[in-house]
Symmetry: C2
Subunit: 131 residues, 2 copies
Amino acid sequence: VELRRIGTVRSPLTARKGAPRQADESAPPAVVELDAAYADALDGLRPGDAVELLTWLHEADRSVLRTRPRDDPQRPELGVFATRSPDRPNPIGLHTVQVTAVEGPVLRVAALEAIDGTPVLDLKPVLRSAR
Amino acid sequence: VELRRIGTVRSPLTARKGAPRQADESAPPAVVELDAAYADALDGLRPGDAVELLTWLHEADRSVLRTRPRDDPQRPELGVFATRSPDRPNPIGLHTVQVTAVEGPVLRVAALEAIDGTPVLDLKPVLRSAR
C-alpha cells in the first residue's frame, strides 16, 4: 500500500525534540499547504470547522513496538498501540485542528504540534457525535 | 511512503454497499486480528478502553476529489476533505472503537463499520482531552 503526499505542514516548529506532544500543550498556529491539484477537495471547509488532520510522521522509528511514556520515565513500558508515541509501525499522525482560514489550497489552523515539513495525508471533518 | 498491514478486520459485514457509515449506525461487533508479531505492541490496552483504529479502505476510489453526501443527493457536491467519504486520495479509515477484550494479538471491539478483510494500519488510545 502506497501513500501519496497531498501537501506539507509549515510551522515554526522545526525539531521533533522540544515540540509539544499535543496541540493543547502550547502548539503554535500552522499552515497546511496542499498541492494545487487538491484545492477542489477542500471545497466546503470553512473557518471555525474542526478537522482531523492525518500526517506522516517522517522522523519516526518504525521498528519500535514498546515504549516508556516520555513524561514519566518511572512508569513501566507499554505497547506502542497503548500510547500516542510517533514511533510505531505506521507512523500516521492524527491531529484535531481548528481551521482559521481557507485560501485556495492552503489551510490555516489554530494550533498544531507537527513539525515543519511533515507530509500531509488526509483531512476529515470531526464527527459531531464524537465530540 | 509505504504502509505495512499490521492486521485485518474480521466482521459479519462483507460488502461496502449496505455497510453502516459510522459505528453509531448499528455497526456490529468486530474482531481486530493483528499479526502475531504485534501482540507486544498491544500491551497496556484493556477492555473498556476507547481506541482510534486506523484502517486502509481498500475498496475506495482514490481518484475522487468531490462527492455528494450519500444520505442527501439534493445537497451540492463537496470536496472530499469536507466529508468522511471513503473515496479520497489516501483512503485511511478512522474509527473510534470500544475495546471489549484483548486476547494475545486479537482485539474484540463493540461496534465497527469497516468490512471483513479491511487492512489494519494503527491503533491509538483516544486522547482524554479530545473526548
